[in-house]
Symmetry: C2
Subunit: 547 residues, 2 copies
């Protein structure tokens, strides 16, 4: 039996794992990642599914843990190529359907499962158990394979007081441990954090306190998919006689689906349109909105910059940023907080107050999972490399032999028999970048050019030369963008033109007549001149028109 | 009397403040900032000193608080335009001199001061008092002006057990408070942090423990200028029989200056060259190095990527990252940690262990400063807007009347008389970007173009057209960079060429003959075609060669 990491090992995002036994493949999750800073202009990143496409006829289905983008976001791309059943819980499939609709597709082979259900996918018997996470309806799996049971936790935390009352199925986990588990695959996102992750309910308490005491309007920014947090805000608002409006496209989408499927309840008349909300006095208003990560186009960011069409921040507003910045977003969030203060709002945010808890298990919970499941082999998943290492260290500290802890990365094949577990080679795995409509057509060369262009801009040199005469007929013309403000650098550009003319003249004199050589000479001489004068290295593009 | 904020208010970095009384100006600090993410290709950011240049003849001198880049880094640029005396403590002036040497300049009018000294600069009597910070020799000032005393803390923390034994001059602060202080300007960097900042000595204890117990080589990355931290590492290494080498240009520079001036002592024979270090067994080696922020070209980053010429990371190494990531650098640092783990090193870093303390005062220290000085007016400085606001809230919580707390931003003029303090207008202030040799020649237009180029690349369309005939003589030729991998998009580019030809033909047909109109038509039609087909918006540059 093989477990093949197609995403999520050595990174946060685009989680995807294949389970393979004697010709049959089942896929776990199908997520996307957001681009790294150096992926200029890239919109999304998908897992490279070359391995699945090469074995297309053997893929029996996709099982989903929960409805976050990094677990379902690649489905619109993958389902175009793999027409297989998709198994998930109610909210998860609801969100998948919403996503597919945006892509003009529909979920043809969706299979609804409930925690406790057991289904057959190829040679695998998959049993779903409930966990807790920052979205409703998350599950993990026990996958019974011919060589033994594999447990995959999905993203999880242990919340003893979950907002919806749906506690993790501890008994099921204990039972599995008693039966004997060959391998545990467990969420490593918070493996660096000591202690326990707090219950989502504690955030509700903080929100309630702020809503109860705020003198004016309360604006709460959160992840769109954190339905429990939104639910708690709505209940508090209702308790304190306030109306609630949802602002921001992604949050409107998710709350729509969640409400329709019964995951979000609003006491009679509490939820209103934002236009209606404005008819109430400020101290009877709550706005739920997106932008907790300072995303440039999001609702809160635009409100903070006074650029939102429907909501204007005014002194007396209390803004709660009910989320921690995801690594890389710290500065964007800070800028939003600064702007909100500038408009006179009071801002409640991470650094100051407890308005966020993580959806992932901290070290003590990870240990509890390990001790409940007592696996023979352990594979840390869902995390950057240091998270996997820290999680592996936790496992060995609980007595799992070092050689039974397998730390792999994307592409790794984990090979299991009833008695052994090893890392056995690699398959193709990696990143497929999406830019606009293009999937995979932006690669390293395009990115390298974008980086060069971003650093110092571009200078284009155009020459018209005689096809027969090999003489300069017109030009050189120089056009630059992103290099220097041309109106203030006319002299520099004139001298540059002179340099190019000199270079071309020399070529003509020496009877260098092939265009490639002339371009090379022009590029070198201009590049040297520009660097000497500015210490910049713009991209230089010589173009010769043959007349 | 005016205090004029030229930098450091509403931002972390490029600290600079002017004090003005009846025609005379004294400048406090002269720092640079590092570029924000959206300042593509920019190397450094300087304060805009238009106001000082307009009043050049009235500037009497520059007083420096300490030798960090964000307090002295703009001097090489500013001293070229303002030839005035520069006052600072020994290490500060030593670092300034090093900086000027790199720019082929020398410090002609450096004036050495010691804590406790009192000097006259124009109408101001400036008394220097010692504080603590993450670099030796930091000071604050009491500036006696004709309307009252202004106290400027500089960057500070209260360290009761500083490594060099030089405790903050609490008595002096208390004395000033007793005398009566018109206005306090105090460091807001850590105004969000409750409690006290730990003593630098606690880091020494952690380093000592790691060095004592490490089985192999120990590599410590730190800020180059944190001389006390380097000192503690050297003492520990010596105590445990290890030799120490310094690797990384900026750290070699700073330790050179610090050792020469007596701020860094090395027990006999402890400091060696890295080549010599390699002759000792691994468990007798310590390397001090740069790269604690994951900077791409720094020594540790290159070691982690196996690209360093002189040091290779091997299993058994212990790497200590003795610094917290500066906001914005989190991902770079995380990537370095991941890579170090991949090479088999053990990594001690922020998330796991206490190997860093801040150089800035936390809330309880800020309150102590306020209570010692008991100023009539309070101006929070050195911080992003939310830090200034939090600091202002602390001040009012101690009983300073709200209207006496003045929160300004860069450019703000704070106007004081013996009895009043207000914000009275603005002067020109802001950012001057340095890119290569160019100071200020990269502005918003250039940055906007770089951003466009970075997002979707560029398509250049070249046409040769007859001057008289107004006919297309050659082309259109299309050249693209950073748009799409051309070899795999030949069809798209061919169609695009067809679209351009169509557009030009139409112009010729309709007798549209001025080049600007033709370019406009080409740009619009190509832009629309490309967007429809790819949902990308590359920059489109039509160039017409007139033959």
């Amino acid at each position: 039996m093989h477990l093949i990491a197609l995403g999520g090992l050595g990174e946060i995002g685009k989680n995807m794992m294949a389970v393979e036994y004697s010709g049959d493949i089942m896929v776990i999750d199908c997520g996307l990642a957001f681009p790294e800073e150096e992926m200029l202009g890239v919109d999304l990143v998908l897992p490279d599914i070359t391995y699945l496409l090469e074995n297309k006829s053997r893929v029996r289905g996709i099982v989903l843990t929960h409805g976050h983008e990094d677990h379902i976001g690649a489905l619109p791309y993958v389902l175009r190529e793999l027409d297989v059943p998709v198994y998930g819980t109610k909210l998860t499939l609801g969100l998948v359907q919403g996503k597919l609709t945006e892509h003009g597709m529909s979920l043809r082979k969706g299979k609804l499962v409930r925690p406790g259900d057991s289904i057959r996918v190829g040679p695998f018997q998959v049993e779903f158990f409930r966990v807790n996470h920052s979205i409703p309806d998350p599950v993990g799996f026990a996958i019974r394979t011919p060589v033994g049971t594999v447990v995959h936790t999905g993203d999880f935390k242990f919340d003893h007081t979950p907002v919806d009352g749906e506690v993790t199925q501890f008994h099921k986990l204990a039972e599995l441990g008693d039966e004997g588990v060959l391998a545990l695959l467990s969420d490593s996102t918070n493996a660096e954090r000591p202690g326990y992750t707090m219950s989502e309910r504690t955030v509700g308490d903080t929100l309630d306190e702020v809503i109860a005491t705020a003198k004016g309007r309360v604006i709460i920014a959160s992840f769109a998919s954190n339905v429990h947090r939104l639910q708690q805000a709505i209940i508090s608002a209702s308790r304190h006689g306030r109306k609630v409006a949802v602002v921001g496209r992604s949050m409107e989408n998710v709350t729509g689906v969640a409400a329709e499927l019964g995951y979000l309840r609003s006491p009679n008349g509490t939820l209103v349109e934002v236009e209606e909300l404005n008819r109430f006095p400020a101290n009877r208003q709550v706005i739920l909105t997106t932008g907790s990560q300072g995303e440039p186009m999001s609702a809160l960011t635009r409100m903070a910059a006074a650029e939102h069409r429907r909501v204007e921040i005014i002194p007396g507003d209390t803004v709660i940023i009910a989320a921690n910045p995801i690594p890389g977003n710290e500065k964007l969030v800070a800028r939003t907080v600064d702007n909100l203060f500038r408009r006179g709002a009071d801002v409640v945010y991470e650094r100051v107050s407890g308005v966020h808890v993580s959806g992932h298990a901290s070290q003590e919970e990870l240990k509890l999972m390990l001790n409940l499941i007592r696996p023979r082999f352990f594979v840390p998943v869902h995390g950057e490399y240091r998270h996997l290492i820290r999680h592996a260290q936790l496992a060995t500290s609980l007595g799992i032999p070092r050689q039974n802890v397998l730390v792999g990365e994307n592409g790794t094949i984990f090979e299991f028999t009833a008695n052994s577990g090893t890392m056995a080679g690699k398959v193709t795995a990696g990143q497929v970048m999406v830019d606009g409509l293009g999937v995979g057509d932006v690669g390293n060369i395009v990115l390298r050019d974008r980086k060069l262009l971003a650093e110092d801009g571009v200078i284009i040199v155009v020459l018209a030369m005689g096809k027969q005469s090999k003489q300069l007929l017109s030009g050189p013309d120089l056009v630059s963008r992103g290099f220097v403000y041309v109106r203030e650098a006319e002299k520099l550009m004139d001298e540059a033109k002179g340099k190019v003319r000199e270079a071309v003249d020399k070529c003509v004199e020496r009877k260098v007549t092939d265009w490639t050589s002339i371009k090379g000479v022009v590029r070198d001489s201009l590049s040297k001149f520009v660097y000497d004068r500015t210490k910049r290295r713009p991209m230089i593009l010589p173009i010769i028109m043959e007349i």
